[in-house]
């Protein structure tokens, strides 16, 4: 890396540190980091990683700035309300440090775009605010073998850890599957003290810098908890374990078919009109009636699994979404519960109300 005079002045105070020096600054300059989420955690991470001189920073977020963001999301001001967060973030970051590149993705990370976006970066930072995206980011990092710097907050408490670093523990070694609905809260529903994402976000930024500088003390295989209310900190050790089997996800094209639900409540119903409007999903209908029950739906998207055989089902065909169906919606509800237990990472819904004349009519029209 050849720095001009201004750049040298910019980084002078950290180049003075023996742990960084001119070589460390070059490592920072030659690295690329993707920050998923430009909210409470994302803002301080972006701010300080830009100042540290990370050569290429990517930021993914499809949200716009709202007034309720401003008490904690430090890149934005009142005049930015209504603007895309990534656009403002890019502008602010390049003002902070014109010697770096900032790439923006004004969309949410999905199972369709995750691998393409993440593959272009060395390190990924989870600064999201919901479980589905956290699981998606983790899985994509495992598939692409990228280190993941995790941070999450709840009211006054935060968690930080580095996952998938040099084959170390992953998020699913700590929390194998989606939490139950009762555990699902985020800043918009639970509330949050503004300084907390600042504290946790900067600890994440610090871990990013440590990874780039080849520190021996990266917070890998550990989870650090911090309480802004009591000052309690604690660290637990996590080993890479087999709580979750990644082998299916590792296969080519599987991540794109794993459903990262927008709700963690796995016992959901779907209504007939919703079902038929979901044209962009690959849906598999699971007919749990007895094989001789009329009417019979013959189609490649329908599989027959009578309720009494449902607990012996070993495998489901590939689909984005599964919908259990029966005549009234009662047997299919039972089947859905059993299948949800057997396949916790598949999105399985129950057809509310069952196979009504409306269903049959829409089915005929569509098929």
């Amino acid at each position: 890396m050849t720095m001009n005079e201004q750049e040298e002045k910019y980084y002078k105070r950290q180049i003075l540190l023996p742990e960084i020096g001119i070589n460390g600054q070059a490592l920072l300059h030659n690295s690329s980091v993707l920050i998923v989420g430009a909210g409470g955690l994302g803002c301080p991470i972006l701010d300080f990683l830009a100042r540290a001189g990370i050569g290429k920073i990517g930021v993914v977020d499809g949200d716009i700035v709202e007034i309720s963001n401003l008490h904690r999301q430090s890149l934005y001001t009142m005049t930015d309300i209504g603007e895309l967060k990534v656009n403002i973030a890019q502008k602010v970051l390049l003002n902070i440090n014109p010697f770096i590149k900032v790439e923006t993705y004004s969309e949410m990370l999905t199972n369709q775009n995750a691998l393409t976006i993440i593959s272009q970066y060395d390190i990924v930072v989870d600064a999201t605010d919901n479980y589905p995206t956290r699981y998606l980011v983790n899985d994509a990092c495992v598939v692409l073998q990228k280190p993941l710097v995790y941070g999450a907050i709840y009211r006054f408490e935060g968690q930080i850890g580095v996952f998938n670093y040099k084959g170390g523990a992953t998020y699913r070694c700590l929390f194998p599957n989606y939490p139950k609905a009762a555990s699902e809260t985020n800043c918009s529903t639970a509330g949050v003290i503004g300084v907390l994402p600042g504290i946790i976000g900067l600890m994440q930024a610090n871990e990013v810098i440590k990874i780039i500088l080849n520190s021996n003390e990266v917070l890998s295989n550990r989870l650090l908890s911090y309480s802004a209310k009591t000052g309690r900190t604690s660290t637990i050790n996590i080993r890479r374990n087999n709580s979750f089997d990644y082998s299916t996800l590792m296969k080519n094209g599987q991540l794109e078919h794993n459903f990262y639900a927008q709700s963690c409540d796995s016992l959901e119903d779907i209504y007939i009109d919703e079902l038929f409007s979901k044209t962009d999903f690959n849906i598999c209908l699971i007919d749990v009636r007895d094989p001789n029950e009329e009417p019979i739906f013959k189609h490649k998207s329908v599989i027959l699994m009578p309720l009494y055989e449902i607990d012996s089902v070993q495998e489901l065909p590939i689909a984005d979404l599964y919908v259990t169906i029966c005549m009234s919606g009662v047997r299919s509800k039972s089947a859905q519960k059993i299948l949800n237990r057997q396949f916790p990472n598949k999105k399985i819904l129950n057809l509310k109300g069952g196979i009504t004349p409306e269903f049959i009519e829409l089915w005929k029209k569509k098929m």
């Binding site: 999450a152 939490p179 050790n237």
Partner: protein, 76 residues
């Protein structure tokens, strides 16, 4: 055997305590079953269990000194 139980996030909120000392039976027990039996209000919550700062099998045989219940956090 006295063991310190440490609670985080929504679990600490639900129980309204950060930590407590509990007398565990002098035999091998499953910590999750023990705690859900004691606090049925936690049955709909997700949490991982660390025994003496190690995330591991949720079984205790009489040697633990601290058990932590860690729920996942979504916020950011």
């Amino acid at each position: 055997m006295k063991v310190k139980f440490v609670y985080y996030g929504m679990i600490a909120e639900k129980l309204e305590i950060l930590e407590e000392n509990l007398e565990l039976p002098n035999e091998t027990i499953n910590v999750r079953n023990y705690i859900l039996n004691r606090y049925p209000e936690l049955k709909d919550m997700s949490f991982s269990i660390a025994i003496d700062h190690e995330l591991q099998d949720e079984i205790v045989n009489g040697l633990a000194s601290e058990i932590a219940l860690l729920p996942p956090f979504a916020g950011g």
